[in-house]
Symmetry: C2
Subunit: 289 residues, 2 copies
């Protein structure tokens, strides 16, 4: 079974990384970007063949992966599905519930399956693309119960080819999970970094460095992500402010044991993460910077 | 001028690291711990000479550094100052205001100067001590206006010998700064890690990993730190919950530009940190893990 041909639509950091990883895995890759100078640059980098007119790419591909900002995905998928061919369409959007509801008819028909590779960087743009980005990362796919098995097998094969582990989740469960492990950390990092005075920064060390790292991410891109998942994100923020108010009360009461108990919940969550992460550590490789 | 003799009181991770670093710099080090098996182990590791009775150490030292938990420092310094000799006493407590007020008479008399090396680890105990811990880190010292210059010069010489940059700050300014760049990041990390479900952890990647790293720290130790700095910490928490409420409103309004603006403040804070940190990058060495 020869590798399918994949059309990548949108050649930023993620799309460029996926294209370069698939080429490295021996797959045929077609490259499209709304600005043709970007797809020309990707082709010059050896990431695949430049496609100027999207219908030409759709006519030749078995899989099309939309790698554009979350809010642009639904209309773009609707355009693609009306083009020639029967390519399975996927995406890499970091929010899945609203998108999969909007595209439910296409999921049932086997034309669309949502994907979300849990990899990324605060660096943006094709020039930072890396073929090893997906090595050892988890990629969530969000088929619906009636999505045909052949499509699921095809998209899983694509992500496995670039080194990903597959994790199937219903779209809403995916969104709650990323609110907790990705969107909330980003918000917390931004809130901590925003409050810091110049005088204080002179004392900032490794704790500040790591806790605020993701706050460097592109604000427009992240606003798009947070708004796309606003219900789950709002819930995660409210849980967090509730926790912070609890700590304020304990500090006011001066109860060392209760403050330690509050901190222990965080320590426990972190320990559960480390435990989970170390179990498959050998298989992980360089997927996470 | 030969290096002075330094008495280290309390041989956990920080005290052990300071002892080993001073020995490596060619200084004479005396080791005391309330449990003699710990000072015996430190001596066996080559970190200095074991001292069983504290007055013997105080009689021989030019500097004594108290490396015990924050809440134990004031009574311990009071004991030390009543012992033989005229050693300058310092500490490594991560909160300075209340402590320096309690010891103001000794600061004026030149017997006490507060120190806080901005280095650490979530690993605890003598067995993790590292002679390079202070290389390139900033150490804050908090003399009062009437502290004699000779004492200031002596404690600066000690921290510089282990590779630290010196930063002089009034105690309360130090406490506000560490609330912002150390205590608040710890609290945010714990709040994010505490809320995570097992199902979500399967999707946790590098963002979660870095944002929550410090939450692994010892809860009892951190409860002690937060309570010692409770006024500044409470202020930092209130500022943060205020910011989070602001974001909730913007998400509800669905205003992408305003959400991006909110995130930009975090990005800017992070960029200011990176800028400050990269300027003296050559001089920093391995001080931060």
């Amino acid at each position: 079974m020869p590798p399918p041909t994949v059309l990548i639509v949108g050649l930023g950091f993620m799309g460029g990384s996926l294209a370069s990883a698939l080429v490295q895995a021996g797959w045929s890759v077609l490259l499209h970007h709304r600005r043709s100078e970007v797809s020309a640059r990707a082709a010059a980098l050896g990431y695949g063949e430049q496609i100027l007119a999207l219908p030409d790419g759709m006519g030749r591909a078995q899989i099309a992966v939309v790698c554009t900002p979350v809010s642009t995905i639904v209309p773009l998928v609707r355009q693609l599905v009306a083009m020639p061919g029967q390519a399975l369409i996927s995406d890499i959007g970091s929010v899945k519930g609203p998108l999969c509801r909007d595209l439910a008819d296409l999921s049932r028909a086997g034309r669309f399956i949502g994907s979300h590779p849990m990899a990324g960087s605060h660096l943006q743009g094709l020039e930072h693309a890396r073929p090893d980005l997906f090595q050892g990362c988890t990629t969530v796919i969000t088929p619906v119960p009636s999505t045909p098995q052949a499509g699921i097998a095809l998209i899983e094969r694509c992500w496995q080819a670039v080194g990903s582990r597959i994790h199937r989740l219903p779209p809403d469960e995916h969104d709650r999970a990323v609110a907790e492990v990705s969107h909330l950390p980003h918000i917390a990092a931004a809130a901590v970094a925003a409050g810091v005075s110049d005088a204080s920064l002179a004392l900032a060390a490794s704790g500040f460095r790591d806790t605020t790292r993701v706050a460097a991410g592109d604000p427009a891109l992240w606003a798009d992500i947070l708004l796309s998942n606003r219900l789950q994100v709002a819930q995660a923020i409210r849980t967090t402010t509730g926790r912070l108010h609890e700590l304020l009360v304990l500090l006011e009461q001066g109860d060392a044991q209760a403050v330690a108990g509050w901190l222990s919940q965080g320590q426990l969550g972190r320990q559960r993460f480390e435990l989970l992460r170390h179990l498959p550590a050998q298989a992980e490789g360089g997927g996470e910077e």
